[in-house]
């Protein structure tokens, strides 16, 4: 046991009252030095104290004690929660509230107590200390409240600004979006296929899918020769990857031929003069595929079809998608759209042409899709 209980903590974790309590000796600042002895007879406690005299006490009920001290009757009772404790004595009752430094008695302020650094005080002194403590505690709580409310308001404002920026970005993206009507692009695609004697219904689903891949990941980025790395596809290793790579290359040559475009040495596109395609649809600000290749996210621009209008590849894409959709079930159509969307992102953010292509693809496949910015 530490000297005078210095360093010892009570139930609330505060320094215990500075005093000495031994089996027969008690010494404290207010109680002075006293010898004492205690015994028990049945349910009755007997206590002898050189300063206080003889005391006989017993527990009448829970939290209720009765005693005789030097012939004087004593009744003590404390009931209820710490916030509003009911104190009962033979002279009446009072209400007190426990605080971190002691207790404040609201009916008999002189019975309040406080303990700071193990020094126990009662009466007026305790009341002053409690008043100072409560004032400081109230001030601290107020500051905390103000800070919490401030942070909440700040977060709300931040969220609101984020929402406004997001809405502004979406509106800007919507303005930049290429908008083509199927009724405009489908006849252009049909005319191209008829010119080349192509009947897509005769094609296998495997090749139709490869043609869709070619349109999205190659034409969509302004190229006409499929190159895996340029499209974001790693070098093929497995049988499935090799087959997809080979199929997209092979069918891509045919699709590029229908569109009247050829690849130069580095795979970027040069439109064959005239291109055989008249832009018939509403192109918005896009006066050619070049304009449509700009990506929204970073503003970079890739080499692209120099003079062809985007209606031609979009028209062919639509017809490919529609034919493919006729040959597969609904789940496969949705899977096709999602996987192609995924593949578009493999080489970076989508170009505007790719976004327009995805819209057309969804129309052709008969699947609804909402585009979101890549994280």
């Amino acid at each position: 046991m530490a000297l005078f209980k210095v360093g010892e903590k009570d139930r609330e974790g505060r320094q215990k009252r500075i005093e000495h309590t031994g089996p027969y000796l008690r010494a404290s600042r207010t109680g002075g030095l006293a010898l004492r002895a205690q015994g028990r007879v049945g349910a009755v406690n007997l206590t002898g104290n050189t300063r206080r005299g003889l005391r006989v006490s017993t527990r009448l009920a829970k939290n209720t004690q009765v005693a005789f001290q030097n012939g004087r009757f004593i009744l003590r009772g404390r009931y209820g929660p710490d916030a509003a404790k009911l104190n009962v004595s033979k002279s009446g009752f009072s209400i007190s509230t426990k605080t971190p430094i002691g207790a404040v008695n609201w009916i008999r302020p002189g019975s309040s107590s406080a303990k700071i650094a193990g020094i126990q005080v009662r009466g007026k002194n305790a009341l002053y200390l409690q008043a100072i403590y409560l004032t400081l505690a109230a001030a601290l709580t107020l500051v905390q409240l103000v800070v919490t409310i401030g942070l909440g308001i700040g977060q709300a404002v931040f969220w609101l600004i984020g929402q406004l920026i997001d809405r502004w970005r979406r509106a800007a993206a919507e303005r930049e979006r290429l908008d083509f009507r199927i009724a405009d692009i489908a006849p252009i695609g049909t005319r191209l296929l008829v010119e080349h004697g192509v009947e897509l219904e005769q094609e296998s689903r495997r090749d139709l899918l490869a043609a869709l891949v070619f349109c999205l990941v190659t034409l969509g980025r302004g190229r006409t020769a499929f190159e895996g790395p340029a499209a974001g596809m790693p070098a093929p290793e497995t049988a499935s990857e090799v087959a997809l790579d080979a199929d997209v290359r092979a069918v891509g040559e045919q699709v590029a031929r229908w569109l009247g475009v050829g690849a130069d040495r580095d795979g970027s596109v040069e439109a064959v003069a005239g291109g055989g395609v008249d832009g018939g649809g509403a192109g918005g600000e896009a006066d050619g595929v070049r304009g449509a290749l700009r990506v929204n996210a970073d503003g970079t621009e890739s080499d692209g079809l120099k003079s062809m209008r985007p209606e031609a590849p979009l028209g062919v894409l639509y017809l490919l998608a529609r034919t493919f959709a006729d040959k597969v079930d609904e789940a496969t159509r949705a899977e096709t759209l999602l996987s192609l969307d995924d593949a578009c992102l493999a080489a970076g953010p989508r170009t505007r042409l790719q976004e327009a292509m995805l819209d057309v693809l969804a129309e052709g496949l008969g699947v609804e899709m909402r585009l979101e910015e890549a994280a």
């Binding site: 790693p234 090799v242 087959a243 045919q254």
Partner: protein, 285 residues
């Protein structure tokens, strides 16, 4: 490529593979794949992976019965009738082993024994039909060009024992059975050669992988390995890099007559360079 991530081709590769394994019935496929039109009148490679029942020809439909017309012997059948019957048998059951073809003709004619003269007569008519371009003979098998080019995976389980013999199954069909067994196995782990053989022939209705069956399957398996359709890795068979390529796009750029589903597969397989000795040992062990 591993787990599908945002911005990858993984999902597309899986989707494409599923379409390869479930090919269209008979696409003409001329616009997107013009290179293959000249070499094939049907699907050039990657046949259906569907198991179809072995269809036997109806003897009555061959119209070779001797008694009703008072014909005394097989030799009295006219060339036209015999040619028609051969064409019909091949149409229904081709590619068909020569012995099974003869069995069908004799059965339809009500003749019980295949003598040397009857044999010569049938051989003569088959050769005549081949010269006319109606049929092709590859070793002991007779079939139409498209049948030999496009293997079919047939369920032989309902056939009588004397017909249900692995020697009567064309190499291309056995190759397809083995390929299918590897295709069904886990890509990463592969499948031991013996297991592939067992699974392959079991699917076709041959219940036991006997020593003879194992020997019969060696050549088709080696052909698959040579062709790059399968590869052997640490004792297990895996799909080869070129497994799903069609003949016009084989690695060498040559349609590859030895590939499954191409015209002269069985003949040319013999002239291919042999497998590495260690590879052969691994397969046979």
């Amino acid at each position: 490529m591993s787990e599908a991530a945002l911005g990858s081709f993984d999902a597309l590769v899986r989707l494409h593979r599923s379409l390869i394994c479930d090919p269209d019935a008979r696409p003409v496929d001329s616009a997107l794949r013009p290179a293959r039109v000249e070499e094939a009148e049907a699907w050039t490679w990657v046949p259906t992976f569907e198991l179809i029942p072995y269809r036997c020809v109806d003897p009555i439909a061959l119209a070779l019965a001797l008694a009703p017309e008072g014909t005394a012997s097989f030799h009295d059948l006219s060339d036209d009738r015999l040619d028609g019957a051969i064409r019909h048998v091949v149409e229904v059951e081709g590619p068909i082993h020569w012995r099974v073809l003869a069995e069908r003709l004799l059965d339809a004619a009500g003749v019980t024994r295949l003598g040397s003269r009857i044999r010569e007569r049938i051989e003569e008519r088959v050769e005549a039909l081949e010269q006319r371009g109606d049929l092709i003979q590859q070793g002991p098998f007779v079939g139409r060009a498209s049948q030999l080019r496009v293997p079919r995976l047939r369920d032989w389980s309902a056939l009588p024992d004397e017909i249900r013999d692995l020697d009567h199954v064309p190499d291309t069909e056995l190759m397809l059975a083995l390929f299918r067994a590897v295709l069904d196995a886990d890509d990463a782990e592969g499948i031991p050669a013996d297991q592939a053989m067992n699974d392959g022939i079991h699917r076709m209705g041959f219940v036991r992988l006997t020593r003879n069956a194992r020997e019969r399957l060696q050549a088709p398996l080696e052909a698959l390995l040579r062709e790059g359709m399968l590869r052997l890795q640490r004792g297990s068979l895996h799909l080869g890099r070129d497994a799903f390529l069609r003949s016009a796009e084989s690695a060498a750029g040559d349609p590859g007559p030895g590939r499954v589903g191409t015209a002269a597969s069985d003949v040319v397989l013999e002239s291919r360079p042999p497998l590495d000795a260690a590879e052969l040992r691994t397969i046979r062990d």
